[in-house]
Amino acid sequence: MAAVFPFSAIVGQDEMKLALLIASVDPSVGGVLIFGDRGTGKSTAVRALAALLPTMRAVVGCPYGCDPAKVAGLCGACDGSAVKPAAASKARAKSVAGGKGTPEPKSHAVPVPVVDLPLGATEDRVVGALDLERALAHGQKAFEPGLLARANRGFLYIDEANLLEDHLVDLLLDVAASGENVVEREGLSIRHPARFVLVGSGNPEEGELRPQLLDRFGLSVEVKTPTDLPTRIEVVRRRDTFERDPAAFIAAWQKEDAKLRRRLTAARAHLAEVEVPDRVLEQAAGLCMALGTDGLRGELTLMRSARALAAFEGDASVDDRHLKRVAAPALRHRLRRNPLEDAGSASRIERAIAERFGA
């Protein structure tokens, strides 16, 4: 695995970084869409996030990465039932051999999965399919979990989301909505949890994203190439330093990353305690009404992301400041719009905020 550029070393692009952090604090915010110019570090940021996230506990050998406190009971590793995917049974065999056949699932700390959905992935690998090897060699019908299973409890990243095959997009929409992957193919009938934060990136010049997919993303950020010289120099310098000696560069930023990681952990613990006063809810609803966003999803996302932000900042309750900061990413892609007016959506939100909160 190639060395990963540290998250805290990414220059600028604050909105993008904030959106990713918010989604890590509260996955229920529902995904991040990053659209913008080429070469602005979209993929870099997502990969960096993977290295930044605190580890989580997962059942040993469970292909779905079940939380030991809340197992889905789908595989042998979790509940010892009869249906077991290949990986699970192998791991089980190992643990039995180790002499520890405890009734409680064994768990270990694993990195939060950040799974790449590469272009050119085939459907069977995304949803999971019949394990061809076992079928051919032993004539057994076994399920081989796909990317959706691997992404459970983590992130699913689609680079160039606008170039993704339509039939895969349909699949993702369905799973992202239900948090569950239902596989009915090749005589298999399996459902497994697939709760993940969808992160998509792309360049609008290569085509738009389908409106339905757009709607699945909680936050949408626009990234632009920095235009001032000092920032650009810094971007290039850091990149260059990193490439010359990745290990030293990562070591130099390790402290910053660790600080951020601690803040994330603290924010997650703190999230449930953050209060959302009625007044803020009113403000959020008012803002959405003023902008004419469709449905309630906008308000919900706005509230959740403001809360996550408050938790991240260590504040006890949500206030207008938090709302203002997350309003644009939470609502930008929800304005009922003439699709041709997207350039104006940021300014529309700004105007509405100014009206709402008073200048």
Binding site: M1, A2, D37, R38, G39, S43, D116, P118, L119, G120, A121, T122, E123, D124, R125, V126, A129, L130, D131, L132, E133, A135, L136, A137, G139, Q140, K141, E144, G146, L147, D159, E160, L163, E165, D166, H167, E186, G187, N203, P204, E205, E206, G207, E208, R210, T225, T227, L229, R232, I233, V235, V236, R237, R239, D240, N338, P339, L340, D342, A343
Partner: protein
């Protein structure tokens, strides 16, 4: 220090080659714009000779499938072994070498994006056909761009990642004199490369230059830095000097410049203080137009000097174009040449498989078939053994596939439609018509946004026709080009029809269907050659219309004259187009009319076009 004044393109091409050979993966690659021919072959041969003998050079053909490109299930081996065997894709096979992308202007954005991802991450992630692997691969790309028309260009996502854009144009073979760098020199440079230092001053100068030239993507700057390092390594130095930075900036930035920096203060030469880098260039290069003034450059800041080196190398045509304020933004962020052709990967894309009989002309979905057959094998084996007990045992069959197992590939059926608007932007057409046409295009684009179709816009006025908007689905780009569409001048109707035909043809060649919507009052007054001659103009227009008809493009002619014009109707008849007089059409009425025609095209035309080849 190589001469900063215009040099022979071949000398530049050889410098590029040398730098690229030193660090193929770091630099990403070269977009080689040239026709197939001995000059291009000489360049490629030079590259092969400069690279280590062991470096693989593989060609990626236009029609490559994902299976070969990325890897997947090796069917023959799988059947033989009775267990899944992975096949390495081309991108993994070229590890350490060069991937030659032939006819890069025609590869789809999908393939381009896959190559780009492999370049970016130095590895290929494969999630296909039951395999999930990560293969490391470091390669450089040579994209052979043979585009002849404006409407063809290499996908921007790929161009963005290639450090160099080399245009050999129509260079005759006899001018390709400079020799390719020698393998040993390159080998030595490769060894020094990791230790080459680059001062902050150089880095800042390169960043400043990129900014001044309007090059947005940091990738270009990073490429220039690597090129500068490669140049220093070739010269056997362990520090990047100004000569290296200038050379790198010139080769990397000049073709990507989207604006000329503001100060038109003559064209000073940067100081020639360093010996030339080793691709030993013959000393005297034919300086075609040496700048007359030579300002003493020492007192200039470094970035200005680097900038000047680049400015001298910016092609004259681009300069004129930029200065005329033409295509101001299109080139921007298209990463190199402007107007990258965008198209979806929709035609004939597999959309899963379904049970069926492959003999009915459909493509067998091999893996799915095997997968369907797999669970039954033990059972069938037993069955077979039982039934064959008396007779001959059918030996040697490892897998028993039966008719019920066959799966055929399902493809997306709907072809993509591109609606081409050819808008008369002449004076007679008054500017408000143009505004309506723009409005209609915007409305249709909103429609296409949902249906994922494309629109294109051709404007004809003044001396000829111009492609304002190549087929696109991108709202961002469409809005940009629409906003800047000017009006006024004569009516070169024939040129407008010709341009539409060419575009319709190129859309067709990609397997999409085209619908032409021509908005004009039908009163051409400029002949094909651009001369004002009403008689000739009409005759030419009729001729062009007849040619268009032969192509069989579904067309709609909207007559926007104040009164319906017989001339327009005649042309519509000659084109085989529907004629619609809409003297006061507003954009909503226009787009309504177009929608109907498009609907009928997708219903009928989409199928009928299959018989016609290119």
């Amino acid at each position: 220090m190589p001469a900063p004044a215009p040099r022979s393109p071949w000398a530049d091409a050889m410098d590029t080659l040398a730098l690229f050979a030193v660090d193929p993966h770091g630099l990403g690659g070269v977009l080689l714009r040239a026709r197939a021919g001995p000059v291009r072959d000489r360049w490629l041969q030079g590259l092969r000779e400069a690279l280590p003998a062991s470096a693989p050079v593989r060609r990626i053909p236009l029609q490559i499938g994902d299976g070969r490109l990325l890897g997947g299930l090796d069917l023959a081996a799988t059947l033989n072994a009775g267990r899944p065997v992975a096949e390495r894709g081309l991108l993994a096979e070229v590890d350490g070498g060069i991937a030659l992308v032939a006819m890069a202007e025609r590869i789809g954005t999908g393939i381009a994006a896959k190559i780009a991802a492999a370049l970016d991450h130095a590895e290929i992630r494969i999630e296909r056909e039951g395999f999930s692997t990560l293969l490391p691969t470091r390669f450089g790309v040579v994209a052979l761009d043979e585009s002849a028309h404006e409407d063809e260009s290499v996908p921007a996502a790929l161009v963005e990642r290639l450090a160099f854009l080399v245009d050999l144009g129509d260079l005759p073979l006899r001018e390709a004199i400079e020799p390719a760098p020698d393998r040993d020199a390159v080998e030595a440079a490769r060894a020094t490369l990791p230790s080459v230092l680059l001062d902050d001053e150089m880095l800042e100068a390169l960043c400043g230059t990129a900014l001044a030239l309007g090059i947005d993507s940091p990738r270009a700057t990073i490429a220039a830095i690597r090129a500068a390092r490669a140049s220093a390594a070739l010269a056997g130095r362990d520090r990047v000097l100004e000569a290296d930075a200038s050379l790198a900036a010139r080769l990397v930035f000049a073709p990507r410049a989207t604006r000329i920096p503001a100060d038109p203060q003559a064209e000073p030469e940067p100081p020639a203080e360093e010996p030339p880098p080793p691709p030993p260039p013959p000393d005297d290069r034919p300086d075609e137009s040496p700048p007359d003034e030579q300002t003493p450059a020492e007192d200039q800041p470094l970035d200005d000097r680097v900038l000047e080196a680049v400015k001298a190398a910016i092609p004259a045509g681009l300069l004129a174009l930029l200065q005329a304020g033409l295509q101001p933004k299109q080139a921007r962020s298209a990463g190199g040449r402007s107007g990258a052709m965008q198209r979806g990967q929709r035609r004939g894309r597999p959309a899963g498989s379904r049970p069926g009989d492959p003999r009915s002309g459909q493509r067998l979905a091999v893996v799915d078939t095997l997968r369907a057959a797999a669970p039954w094998q033990p059972l069938r084996k037993r069955e077979r053994e039982a039934s064959a007990g008396a007779g001959m045992a059918r030996t040697g069959r490892r897998i028993d596939v039966r008719r019920d197992d066959f799966r055929v590939q399902r493809y997306r059926e709907r072809a993509q439609t591109t609606t081409i608007f050819a808008v008369d932007a002449s004076g007679s057409q008054a500017l408000n018509r143009l505004a309506e046409a723009k409005g209609a295009v915007e409305l249709l684009l909103a429609d296409c946004y949902v249906r994922r179709d494309q629109v294109a816009l051709i404007a004809f006025r003044g001396p000829g026709a111009e492609v304002v908007l190549p087929p696109t689905r991108s709202l961002t780009r469409a809005k940009r080009s629409l906003a800047g569409l000017p009006g006024g001048g004569g009516t070169p109707l024939a040129s407008g029809i010709d341009a539409s035909r060419l575009m319709a043809d190129s859309v067709r060649r990609k397997g999409d269907s085209a619908v032409l919507v021509m908005i004009t009052d039908g009163r051409g007054n400029l002949a094909r050659d651009g001369r004002p001659d009403r008689e000739r103009a009409q005759a030419d227009a009729l001729l062009a219309a007849a040619e268009l008809r032969l192509c069989g493009v579904q067309a709609l002619l909207i007559d926007t004259g104040p009164r319906p014009q017989p001339a327009a109707e005649k042309i519509a008849a000659a084109m085989g187009a529907c004629y619609l007089a809409l003297p006061y059409a507003d954009s909503a009425a226009l787009s309504g009319a177009v929608r109907q025609v498009v609907a009928s095209e997708t219903a009928t035309g989409g199928r009928s076009r299959q018989g016609r080849g290119t």
